[in-house]
Symmetry: C2
């Protein structure tokens, strides 16, 4: 299809936005894959096409990795399908598997892009503590047996607030975009069931950035690294100095702010 | 093996008890099945045999159905294996899949039986409310969209306290044992994340009894049945009058008291 034609179609079509939650365990991330590898996008587009009677190509606020969960992923797509937006969640949820759900649907201006209009994102990371692992949180939290000292972890998180070069926490071999990001909020708190919950809110995140921060942060929690070490690692801008990437299954894309 | 020989062996062996948690989603219940059907017992016995270097045949406080979870199932077995009890959880957990864990291990008198010494049991049942289903609790709570009125449900639960004939809530075709059980505690409360949590504590439960009570109770919650209807159903002692069995995945064997 010629670009002009696509733009013309887009001009007529509605720009539909969805807020999604999913359990990422069974999927190879959000972004569409070639079957038999299945991503959330594959499943969601297929069900949307049934409901809209239209070919659907959706764009997300960002990809999430294999095993990463979402509580508030946002996507948008252009469609000529006429179903009222308030009917979309129930209609599509009735077709979706139980590990994916549409929480909300709304119509946006033609200019709105789930990806490019995003101003900031909030990620959560869940850690399960305890003498023995908890089978009922095994898919949803990183189990760490050694007790973590939350005050020291918070001191390290205070260091990432504001604008920094996060090269030390960027995935090796990532795309050559600017490694500078601004973090607005970075908190760790104890929650029910002997868990720790980290909240990171920033204007954007590099590939694997949250998981690399978490991987290093838990060593601050156990005492293997000091808060000063954490700062040196960050200041070095060298991925080789940071610890191993924390597992995907503790990570949640919580909110996208526009 | 002759019974006398078995008793002799038992006299020498230690009586080891375990407290277990498991996510029942992947298993065909607790009780050992013939492969390729796999129950929790199949997996646990196999791993215990590796650690104890001994053939293990364990007895549980009771079976749990396919898909039912446990936070505190208790089992015991006789073994000549010499591993100290305090080392058992870590040794066996390192071999177990992440959906089964040993929480505690201890040695009991020769007379102790996880099944026959049980004085009472506590079950939990979790219900997820909300306009749309929650993919992160889909394995662990029964999703009911219609808002449930908790006060009415509690009034119905008050009726099951004490000693009653629970034939109305017993699985059709169950074993011909006495249908009389005593309930000590029956509570419903709202919990975090728009959930309801029911707690049932009693001296014993008939097959499917908790799930049949829950199936009927949610109709009291929606208003389809009155509290008086609930009482009539219970008093009728006729399973045909009660509602459909609630799904297994909301149910947890929480505690066994000895």
């Amino acid at each position: 299809m010629k670009p002009e034609h696509k733009d013309e179609m887009k001009a007529r079509a509605r720009n539909v936005c969805l807020k999604l939650a999913y359990d990422g365990t069974a999927y190879h991330g959000f972004q569409r894959q070639t079957p038999p590898v299945i991503a959330v996008q594959n499943v969601l587009e297929k069900k949307l096409e049934i409901v809209f009677g239209d070919s659907i190509e959706l764009a997300a606020s960002g990809r999430t990795d294999a095993g990463v969960h979402a509580l508030g992923q946002v996507v948008n797509f252009f469609t000529d399908g006429r179903i009222p937006v308030d009917r979309i969640p129930r209609a599509v949820n009735s077709l979706l598997p139980q590990d994916i759900a549409i929480l909300e649907a709304w119509e946006a201006d033609r200019e709105f892009s789930a990806r490019h209009s995003a101003k900031s994102k909030t990620y959560l990371y869940r850690i399960q503590q305890g003498e023995v692992p908890n089978p009922l949180t095994a898919r949803y939290a990183w189990y760490i047996r050694r007790p973590l000292e939350i005050e020291r972890m918070q001191q390290a998180l205070d260091l990432i607030l504001g604008e920094h070069d996060f090269s030390a926490f960027r995935a090796a071999g990532g795309a050559p975009m600017s490694p500078v990001r601004t973090i607005y909020r970075a908190l760790v708190e104890e929650t029910e069931g002997n868990q720790l919950l980290c909240t990171l809110h920033g204007n954007g995140f590099l590939y694997h950035m949250v998981r690399n921060i978490m991987g290093t942060l838990v060593h601050v929690g156990t005492g293997k690294l000091s808060v000063k070490d954490f700062k040196s690692i960050m200041d070095s801008r060298n991925r080789n100095n940071a610890s191993a990437t924390a597992p995907a299954h503790g990570l949640y894309l919580s909110h996208v702010e526009y």
